[in-house]
Amino acid sequence: MKLYELTIHKLQEMLAGREISAVELTRSVLDRIEQTEPKVNAYLTLETDKALEQAEAADKKLTEKQAAPLCGIPFAIKDVMCTKGMRTTAGSKILESFVPPYDATVIEKLRAEGAVFVGKVSMDEFAMGSANENCAYGVPHNPWNFDHICGGSSGGSAASVAAGECIASLGSDTGGSIRQPGSHCGVVGLKPTYGRVSRFGLLAFASSLDQIGPLTKDVTDCAMMLNAICGYDPKDSTSVDRPVPDHRAALEEGLEGMTIGIPKEYFGAGLDPEVKKAVLNSITRLKEAGAETRDVSLPHTEYGVAAYYIIAPAEASSNLARYDGVRYGFRSQEGESLLEMYSKTRSQGFGDEVKRRIIIGTYALSSGYYDAYYKKASQARTLIVEDYKKVFAECDVLISPVAPSPAWRIGEKTHDPLSMYLMDALTIPANLAGIPAMSVPCGFSTDGLPIGVQMQASHFEEEKLLRVAGGLEKLLGIASAKPSMD
């Protein structure tokens, strides 16, 4: 039996029943990494010894029957969350040697459960990208076809789960960065409601859009991880203080009574026919299983990309100002004056895409342009929120594609940032509105690349998302599909 292939909920039973030990499980994952990592290139930092120590500690808790649900499970963490004592680079040269003296709240929570941290995984620099090609430390490869991208920005998270290089992982989603790589790598990805999961310790890209979420092998694992990481955090003023339901228990309720909305704007021109077919098939299957469906419209969807590419860079231009070489991280040794030190440090420390967005954001916030750009974008954002409000008055969950096409070839769009930005058109609106959204595998292209279906629900209705996602997963029976990795 290959332990690294199993789900959290299966492994939890085995660990609790002491059929296996956490050390055995961790070794299985570490061996797998050694075997597949040369092809996948998902990890930026591996902490083998520490992981085994954590596994031993987990075994102790498991033996004493004091184990939380995630005790002894090996995780990969997107390298944008602070891990105390473990290097955190955000995929950037500017933080190449940065070791945080504190944990992100999500890491603290997982630690408290007895989780095992295998290492930190690849991402687009500061989470800016849709292909994980903007990482200062190389490009990870899609486990289903090594010539293809994993998606981004949480490419390493999605690839490591798909390849069995961890049992599950954490990613972050600012405009689709969990859902899109999840879809491209054939794993489940959830972006929770803005404010459901603490952002403390998450290196900020766009603070009003960023949200941490799980990437897992199936929907049950997703619910279990959400249970572990969500909840109010006094260290994050934007986290919301409201009761946390048992998301795993919600899965039991199934599809009963769910009304599914099909937003017509998500099926427009430019959608790959195979993606369309797989998503429509999912809708048909849900309908057959008793869900009610309804055609709906979100008329302001088309303004999403434009609004996003003002708001996100604007916030980023300010969020990334702290990487100035003064206190930590990379500092250029060239330059005679303060100004030179700043500009050389940032010119040499940041990659092209990050610099592009800092420049766009700085421009958008400049006096005289603020009203035309940032303010206008904020207004568009309000219209998008209103769209959702209307639609969710008449349906529970929206179903659509995640990305317009399956994973493209590495290098294919590198020189055309605008066409890359447009690939986020279907995932961005959920971030602008702050609603929860997830991506669930729903089929494969004729080339054998995974295709995902996106589900969106109203604020704090993750339970509904998980119920529909869990229902679909059962109907399609593809959660156990694994890449051959040849």
Binding site: M81, C82, T88, A90, L95, F98, P100, P101, Y102, A104, R199, F200, G201, L202, L203, A204, A206, S207, S208, P234, K235, D236, S237, T238, A314, E315, S317, S318, L320, A321, R322, Y323, D324, V326, R327, Y328, L338, Y342, T362, L365, S366, S367, Y370, Y374
Partner: protein
Amino acid sequence: MEFETVIGLEVHAQLKTNTKIFCSCTTQFGNPPNTNTCPVCLGMPGVLPVLNKTVVEYAIKMAQATNCEINRRNQFARKNYFYPDLPKGYQISQFELPIAEHGHVDIEIDGKNRRIGLTRIHMEEDAGKLVHDSHEAHSYVDLNRTGVPLIEIVSEPDLRSAEEAEAYLRKLHAVLRYLDICDGNMQEGSFRCDANISLRPVGQEKLGTRSELKNMNSFKNVHRALEYEIRRQRDILLDGGEVVQETRLWDADRNVSNSMRDKEEAHDYRYFPDPDLVQVVIDDEWINEIKQTMPELPDERRARFITDFALPIDDAVIMTSSRELADYFEAALKLFAKPKKISNWIMTELMREMKGEEGINIQECPVTPENLAALLILIDKGAISGKIAKTVFSEMMKTGKDPETIVKEKNLAQMSDEGDLMKIVQEILADNPEQVAQFKAGKTKVMGFFVGQLMKKTRGKANPKMANQLFGQELLK
């Protein structure tokens, strides 16, 4: 040509909270560099600010004390610029939706009341400090001050002279001290002021080109710097020149201001709402709760001193210029119910002894209000003369001892024994027959000479009333 001066002030007041505005680090002054810091105020990656509620409370107090309208929705904004004392590369401040707007304070100029408008008050975090050493090629960064809460109080361009500006500044200072929300220490920078100043021909509506003055760390320097700037601009305008819009730094050692000529002036701060902080909603209940805790303010206290204690207005203004002085005055008054006598002593002897650059700091006065009252009681009942009292007071200032002890130790009690005094009076008259003759010839002025001799012999302790009386008695025999 006659010019009118137009001045607006921007005042930064550090709030006296125990902890910083967005983290739980202490605000204590004077600790070793970078010890009052944590990942949040150091601007480490991924950390988030959490607002200190007391900061909002203090700001609401100031808003109420300065007759402002309080915005029920408050928004923090980022002010973006690069500088090594600013760890995040932006300062969290307020831009749209500040805590308060449209207020005013009243100042007294030549016995006349002037109402000065307040444009706004907003909350923000302080930056750190750069330490430069001219012997080294690099500078040091101290981030202890980073994140210490500030309120910025912006006046309307309503001030018309350096004198008005100083009076306004002193008023804000007093109000902050009365509210006990700022320690007001200008040397340590907990109360700072920048000035915008321009001149225009009398009668002209349009404002002239302004300059901005910085680095004035005392009331006196504000006054001097503004006077200097008024002269400088007038000279330029009279010569037919144009005032350049610029920032100027006051050099207190040389009594001049110099242009900063700094690229930093061209800053575009790119303000936008801080997405890490939610809007602060202020409801009536909270405002009323804070209203209940408001202390008596300088204007109210001054009015009370005038009506209840019959103090002249000038005395009342000085006695209420700080909360501590007013408390001192009232503490002395409890033991000695003659208000004018107390204010006289404070305004003359005490202030002369205590006077520093910025007036007096009564908390540092070694003479307690109880001891001052005891001294005045000794004078009042004739135990010592007014002149001796000054000597006693000097000693009290030096040693902090109570007046009775000093009088006893130094043997300064007034001589009021008729027999003892008479003996000396007779001796003096016997020793100075010439002056006695003059007196008898009608030159009564020599009485002063006799009394002086008596004081000399008794080292000032003779009861002056009795001295006159006894000499009169003897000479008219």
